[in-house]
Amino acid sequence: MTAVSALLRDVSVRVRGLPEPVIDVPDLAIATGEHLAVTGPSGAGKTTLLNILTGLERPVSGAVLWDGIDIARLSEAKRDTWRAKQVGIIMQDFNLFPGLSALDNVLLPRQLRVPRLGNDARERARHLLEQVGLNRHDQRVETMSRGEMQRVAVARALQAQPAIIVADEPTASLDDTSAKRITDLLIGLSTSSAATLIVVTHDQTLARAMHRVVSLQRGRIVGSRTAPT
């Protein structure tokens, strides 16, 4: 049994005007190094759950414990700091910054946080770009293919050596080949860095590659199955 990394207890999120909570999770544990897929129909609250897990949103009630720290109780600034250190995020539409090179995109979040980038940060960024299979580090991101863009986003998410990697529909806007490549990268890189991987996805190939799949419906976990090992 692996150590419990995240523990959600009695978490509920409500939106004004809706009688039912958007998220209602009485209990969800995620082990350190686990690969978890969250599936479910649109509007099931998958992204909200992800936001709760990464501290981008605060639940109205309940505790979100990561290694014993309840991030729901942290101040906004402290949650930002925690997220910057612990979480790497990959989004469906990449959200790279056009006009900047692949390398600058990978370095940008860190640049905004520290007074001066060290050489080791640059080294790591170049190494990560190599790992995701990109050799032209100075290429502007807007000139890249969608698959390449998402690979830059993966490198960016890993720059701070996060313990948690979170991806929201990372393959949804990619063709099959690129999707396959991203799936392999996510699994390979999180395994090698022993990071916990949480993906929200409709992509069955990606979901099947995870250790566990939980399905969400109207904010509630309605099913959980563990992949055969």
Partner: protein, 421 residues
């Protein structure tokens, strides 16, 4: 820290909005700067032009007109002072120099001014840039910007060509010297002995016939023209005059300041008018100052409108980048960085706008000043001073405070909601 490269890329991506902000700010700044610079330049320029004119004595009339005509050589028919006034002033022990200025003639549109040699050199204080001072009645000294050479001939025209004047055929002058540049209308004047002006206007030459040893000399000068030989052109000019003729104005240099005030009061009588040009100018400029206040108010209001426009543009712009900022935050940028990013970008635009505006305002004032100088001969020195620096710094300070509004909006926006937008 805010990566400069990111800021540049970001501003370039939103270049239309950025350009609009820069141009708005540049325009408003230029307006304010130009108003200040031009007013100051005009004030400095005319004060400089009046420097050599301690006290001006003329016939009773408008003080302003007397100053405009004598200091700025603006053509206008002034009532003549009787020649006795000139003689009296020249003999006055309190007077260091009493220089008559006689105008009314022109040559190629340039004023021909009759005076004395001492005035040309400011009583020996200023040298000529070339040649020498006139020594006979048929010689002339030209201003620094007069397009003539030494040795050229000047045939004065009564009035100006535009007024349908006639050329005086009685006397022509030969250019023998050129004055140094003064930045005043006198740079475009031709200075001749006052005797020449008198003679041309058939008023005699201020020196009695006996003085020249000419028994049959005619005071009116008309008959004498025919009689005069070249030798006669060598006759004595300048004070003292035994029989001075009327002059429109006399420039008086008093020995002491107290003497100057006493003289001015003495000559503020029924028939004569004594003025300190500086005083008249001060009064003129207080009127001009009111105009400046109005212009400054307009400039200020413009800046206010621009500030409002900048807030509007930056808030709209911010709405468009809600998502971008939220992504940065989700990726680990602290809120202070978002605040800094928005604030810094706006300030960078304002700084560029103000810088361009100062240059534009300065250039505009320069162009206007050169136009004034072409038209009037008054060189208005356009100089940036600490006052303009304060204006620019003030604008920047206001912008820095205004930029806090959108920066704060960026700081406070909830990430999760912005990410979904």
């Amino acid at each position: 820290m805010i990566p400069l490269k990111f800021v540049l890329v970001d501003l370039r991506r939103h270049w239309v909005g950025s350009l609009v902000i820069i141009l708005l700010i540049a325009g408003a700044t230029a307006l304010g700067v130009a108003v200040n610079l031009q007013e100051r330049a005009l004030r400095l320029g005319s004060a400089r032009a009046a420097e050599r004119f301690d006290l001006v004595v003329g016939a009773a009339g408008s003080e302003t007109q007397l100053v405009l005509s004598s200091v700025f050589l603006q053509p206008s028919p002034l009532t003549l002072l009787p020649g006795s006034a000139l003689a009296k002033l020249a003999d006055d022990p309190r007077v260091a120099m009493a220089a008559p200025v006689g105008f009314g003639d022109s040559f190629n549109g340039l004023p021909v001014v009759g005076t004395i040699a001492a005035f040309v050199t400011d009583d020996g204080r200023v040298g000529l840039s070339e040649g020498r001072v006139f020594e006979t009645v048929a010689e002339a000294v030209i201003g620094a910007k007069v397009d003539l050479a030494l040795g050229d001939e000047v045939k004065p025209l009564h009035g100006t060509a535009g007024e349908g004047g006639h050329t005086h055929t009685e006397l022509k002058y030969q250019v023998v010297g050129r004055m140094g540049e003064t930045g005043t209308p006198w740079d475009r004047a031709i200075l001749v002995p006052i005797e020449g002006v008198w003679r041309i206007h058939h008023m005699g030459d201020g020196h009695d016939a006996d003085e020249h040893g000419h028994a049959a000399h005619d005071r009116t000068g008309e008959a004498s023209e025919a009689e005069r030989g070249p030798a006669e052109m060598m006759e004595r000019i300048g004070p003292p005059w035994t029989n001075p003729q009327g002059v429109p104005a006399i420039i008086v240099k008093a020995r002491t300041i107290a003497d100057a005030y006493r003289l001015r009061n003495e000559y503020r009588r029924d028939q004569t008018l004594g003025v300190f040009p500086a005083e008249v100018l001060t009064r003129l400029f207080s009127t001009l100052g009111d105009v400046r206040t109005v212009l400054a108010a307009i400039a200020f209001a413009t800046q206010g409108l621009v500030a409002a426009a900048v807030i509007l543009v930056s808030v709209v712009h911010l709405a468009q980048r809600r998502r971008q900022l939220a992504v940065l935050r989700a990726l680990g940028a602290p809120r202070a960085a978002l605040f800094g990013l928005v604030w810094f970008e706006i300030l960078a635009l304002v700084v560029s706008g103000v810088a361009i505006g100062v240059v534009l305002g300065w250039g505009g004032a320069k162009i206007f000043a050169s136009w004034v100088s072409d038209a009037s001969g008054i060189v208005s020195p356009v100089v940036l001073t600490w006052e303009d620096g304060r204006l620019a710094l003030g604008l920047l300070a206001v912008a820095a405070i205004i930029a806090v509004v959108p920066a704060m909006m960026a700081y406070r926006q909830p990430t999760a909601i912005a990410l979904r937008s």
